[in-house]
Structure formats: structure tokens, C-alpha cells
């Protein structure tokens, strides 16, 4: 039974059709037909005003699936031409997200609004509460002057009838850094200089207007050309596949990947490096340190919080170390990171050892399009045995626990603080701690952009609860870094 929103289902259906077209004998033409097959002549019109508008939107979504910016579409280029162009592309487009202008509703601007439930009371606490003189009374009810209103919400709190409401623009509200906003045309636009690619706007838009530009065609093309293509799977993937962890390697081989590495392998190195880094910092008097593995957080530091940079661990991400190992063992291989989120796109772009990113939804679409039943795949254990902590890296608190497990310094010195989801409030805290030069709540600050950790990334497939259980089951089968450390000491 589906828990997924319709917008997600449409995006997945397009990806499946796109991949089916790619593996067919008539790729470009079959891509062109996608909107017509999803909305054939005479079909019901489920969402928009007419079948033509629906097809136009599906066409734009397909463009994003092909990896292009929907903003650059001139509307007269055929989808089949986009499909061909995707095959000639040498490098994927740098910016990860794109807004579909014809699906964007052009939501009403955020405002505070007095509803008809206003009783035109005698006390008028709303007028008293407003510090900006924005509220007047027209004889029947209170009225807010939107020019003067600062949207502080004090009038809402003051109204005894709760008759004042605040409307929001979902994407603007979800974005923690103010990177998406309505432009003069009334439609949403992403400011790429501010965007940290966290993908919160993608999940928030009820019209499904923000998309990730997919690299799925680029990856399948490399496989089709017979290249050695290797998958580097994020620890979160174990929680989002309807099969045993041991079946994953075979599932990837069926797609055409030549090998699969667990990024948990690199997570073991991150944990040990970060523990060592943290110990050296504490010994030299540093007040606190933050983790450095969340791509959304790293972008935030770069673009909005440079003052916290001195407090960020120098340890590289698990993906970095894993890719280094893979490229050493297979220098000619094309490497693909299998990602739970969109934010890793920028990290992949900056790392020459990683060529492409495939997110969980795109991976799922490949399985569907190719008819691969992953729970019937043969079982094979990974050569490298990752630790319990590395396997649980993707859970909120998991990175801090791994540093604790690898810790060789003074007993009890590590005091974790967990930022479970980057929102505006969390960013304010981080800013404050950087300014004060200390963190009042502890000394090891774990930052994860998505509430719940990477298992709740914006491109995940299953439910958080199921993923959590699968990951902890898998973690419990691994050896703890703590055991390894103690054995070495003995």
C-alpha cells in the first residue's frame, strides 16, 4: 500500500518510462511519446485544466529526468532531441535542482490574514498586539495592511478566536537558507549561489515543481558501452531495499555494474580520522568540533556559515575515502555513488574520484524498468566487513556514536550534541556557537541535514521506521569499532 505522495509517484513513473525507453530499440522516439502514453487521447484529466497542460508538464518532468534544466527549455525542442542531446553530454550539469515553471502554481505570497471568523470584538487585542500599526478595522472585522505587516504573528497569538492565519509558500517555508523564492513572474526560482541542494523544497512542493536533474541516462550509457562501472552504496541503502543486504551486489550486477562497494568501508576511516582529529583539537584547547560528512551541511558552511569552518572536522566524508580505495583498485572504472539525497551531487561534482550520482529513487526505477526482482537475487557477503558503527552512520546520532567508539582519548571526554535536521533554528544555533566560540550543550556537534539522518534523505524509497529497523539489524551483525580498538590495545 502506498504511503507515497502522488507527486513522488509521477516522478518515479517518468523515470521508469525513461529507462524503459533507453533499453528499447527506439530510445529517442519512445522518450518523445512518454507524455502521450501517460495521458493518451481521451483519458481522464486527473490534476490540471486539460490534457494538453498535463502533457506539457509531463514533458518538462521528462526533461529533468534526462538531466537538463527545465528553465532552459524553449518549449519548441522535441523531447526526442533532448533525449539525443543527453547521450552526447560529457559531464552532467553542475546545479542539482531545477524548477518546473509550468507546474509551479505561483502560490499566493506568504501573508498574515484575518479570516471571516473575526468576531469584531470590543477589546481588539490584535490591534494592541501589532507593533507596526498594520491592523485597522473596517467596521465589520480587523484588516491587515500587507505593506506594513512584518508577518511576526503576534496578532495571531493575541486573537482569542484564533481567527487570524498565516499562509506560506511551501518551498520558501521549507528552504532553510532563503534560496528559493517567488520572482517577479510569481513563480519560484532557485538562487544557485545560496542553494545548499538539501532538497527540502523538492519534498515540500505539493505540485511537485522542483526536480533533481537526473544522471541516470549518463550512467546507463556508460554501462551500455561496456565500461567497468562500479557502484558505491551509501550505508542508508540497506534500509531502503526490499531484500537482504547480501542480495544487493547481485541486484547491481543484473543492471550491469561490475562491482559494488559499501561506503560504510570509508565510514570506518572517517570515524577513526574524526576521532583522532577531535582528540588533537580537544588537547590543544578547542571548545568544540562539528562533524563533516553531511553534504548539505558542508554546502551551508561554505555559502552561509564560513565563521564555523574552523570548528568543522578535517576528516573527509565516507564517500571520499571509499572512492579513493575504489580508484586505486580499479583505476579505469567509472564510479557511481548511490545516494539517499540530492545534496551529495555537489560533493560528487567536486571529487574527481566519483563520476556520477544515482539516487535511491532512480535506482528503484531501474529495477522496475529492467524487471529485476531484487529479493530473488543470489546472496553474497561483501568482501570488506564494515563495522557496526559504519553501518549505522546514516542514522541520526550514528556519526557521533562512531566517533565515540573509535575514541582513544580520555574516558568520557566526548559529549555529543546532535543536530537532527538543518532548519532555520538549527542554523541560528550554529551561528551563535561559532560567534561565542563555544557550544554550551557539548563538544562534538553532529550535523545531519535531514531529520532522522541519511535514512530520511529526500530521494529515499521506503519508510523511515522500516529503514531504521533494517539498518540496526544489519549493524548488530557487524563488529563494533570499540571491540576492534580494545583488541588492538590488549
Amino acid at each position: 500500500m502506498s504511503e507515497e505522495l502522488e507527486t513522488k509517484r509521477i516522478k518515479r513513473e517518468i523515470l521508469v518510462r525513461l529507462i524503459k525507453a533507453f533499453i528499447s530499440d527506439n530510445y529517442a522516439e519512445n522518450v518523445r511519446l512518454i507524455p502521450y502514453e501517460m495521458r493518451p487521447k481521451g483519458c481522464e484529466v486527473p490534476f490540471r485544466c486539460c490534457v494538453y497542460k498535463e502533457r506539457a508538464i509531463l514533458r518538462s518532468r521528462t526533461i529533468a529526468g534526462l538531466g537538463f534544466a527545465m528553465e532552459d527549455d524553449d518549449e519548441k525542442t522535441l523531447l526526442s532531441d533532448f533525449a539525443k542531446k543527453a547521450l552526447t553530454r560529457k559531464h552532467p550539469e553542475p546545479e542539482p535542482l531545477t524548477v518546473l515553471q509550468n507546474a509551479c502554481k505561483g502560490c499566493p505570497s506568504a501573508k498574515v490574514f484575518v479570516t471571516e471568523l473575526c468576531q469584531n470584538c470590543v477589546a481588539k487585542p490584535c490591534m494592541k498586539a501589532c507593533r507596526f500599526g498594520a491592523i485597522s478595522n473596517d467596521g465589520h472585522r480587523s484588516v491587515i495592511d500587507s505593506e506594513k505587516c512584518k508577518k511576526c504573528g503576534l496578532c495571531m497569538a493575541a486573537c482569542p478566536y484564533k481567527a487570524i492565519v498565516k499562509t506560506v509558500v511551501p518551498c520558501e517555508e521549507a528552504c532553510p537558507v532563503g534560496a528559493i523564492a517567488k520572482g517577479e513572474d510569481g513563480l519560484a526560482h532557485i538562487d544557485n549561489d545560496k542553494c545548499i541542494s538539501c532538497g527540502k523544497c523538492v519534498s515540500a512542493c505539493p505540485f511537485g515543481a522542483t526536480h533533481a536533474k537526473s544522471q541516470v541516462i549518463d550512467i546507463l550509457k556508460n554501462i551500455k558501452e561496456g565500461k567497468e562501472v562500479i557502484a558505491l552504496i551509501a550505508p542508508a541503502l540497506i534500509g531502503h531495499m526490499p531484500c537482504k543486504p547480501e542480495q544487493i551486489q547481485e541486484a547491481f550486477r543484473k543492471i550491469g555494474f561490475s562491482a559494488v562497494y559499501e561506503v560504510a568501508q570509508g565510514a570506518d576511516i572517517t570515524a577513526k580520522t574524526e576521532a583522532k582529529d577531535f582528540q588533537e583539537r580537544l588537547e590543544s584547547g578547542a571548545p568544540f568540533m562539528t562533524t563533516s560528512c553531511c553534504a548539505g551541511y558542508n554546502e551551508l558552511v561554505k555559502k552561509h556559515l564560513p565563521e564555523i569552518k574552523p570548528f568543522v572536522s578535517d576528516a573527509k566524508t565516507p564517500l571520499y575515502y571509499t572512492a579513493e580505495i575504489v580508484k586505486k583498485e580499479h583505476p579505469k572504472a567509472v564510479t557511481v555513488f548511490i545516494s539517499p539525497c540530492f545534496a551529495k551531487r555537489r560533493e560528487v561534482l567536486d571529487n574527481p574520484n566519483v563520476n556520477y550520482l544515482l539516487n535511491f529513487e532512480e535506482l528503484g526505477a531501474i529495477f522496475v524498468a529492467m524487471g529485476i526482482e531484487i529479493d530473488t537475487c543470489e546472496e553474497k557477503e561483501f568482501d570488506y566487513k564494515s563495522s557496526k558503527e559504519a553501518r549505522e552512520f546514516a542514522l541520526t546520532g550514528g556519526v557521533a556514536r562512531s566517533v565515540q567508539a573509535a575514541w582513544k582519548g580520555e574516558e568520557g571526554a566526548v559529549k555529543p550534541v546532535v543536530i537532527n535536521g538543518l532548519d532555520k533554528a538549527a542554523i541560528r544555533n550554529l551561528k551563535l556557537w561559532a560567534k561565542m566560540g563555544k557550544c554550551p550543550d557539548g563538544n562534538l556537534v553532529e550535523v545531519m541535514c535531514c531529520p532522522g539522518g541519511c535514512i530520511a534523505g529526500n530521494a529515499c524509497l521506503g519508510s523511515l521506521k522500516d529503514a531504521f529497523k533494517k539498518i540496526t539489524d544489519y549493524g548488530n551483525k557487524g563488529q563494533s569499532l570499540e571491540t576492534e580498538r580494545k583488541e588492538k590495545n590488549d
Partner: protein
Amino acid sequence: MKKIQVKVCQGTTCYVMGGSGSKSILDTLTEKYGDKIEIVSVRCFEICHKQDSFSKAPYVYVDDELISSASLEKVINVIESKLKNE
């Protein structure tokens, strides 16, 4: 009284198109109907491999009635009507 069978698909397509056998949904159904229903996991109904029928996944059977694009709400509606007709 014969239990109503709710058959959920374990296949990859049903999972990708919306988490057919999601534990939290199954728990909700068990909590609501207890002994009146029996939840059966089926490897795959094999409906999804036919042409475009993947897009209507996930599939669920309530006794012999097939529900496409199955949501918790749809399944509950069918169970309710079956309970009423008994």
C-alpha cells in the same frame, strides 16, 4: 467467521511505486481489525510485468478483489464494505 485476507506484494515494483508491504501500514491494519483480517505476504502478483501496469502499483488483494494504486484508505474502504455485507 472467515477472516478477510489482505494479500500484499513483496515485489520490487510494488515497493518502488509506494512501499507495498510497509510495516507501519500493516501494523495500522492489524491494530484496527485484529482477528477479522489475515495479512498474507505474496512474493509477487506478477501484474506489474505486463506493459504499463507498473504505473498502477502497488497492488493489494482483499480476498479476490484487486486494488491498484493501493493506499491504506482504499484498502480500508474495501475491508469495511466486506465487513458490512457479512
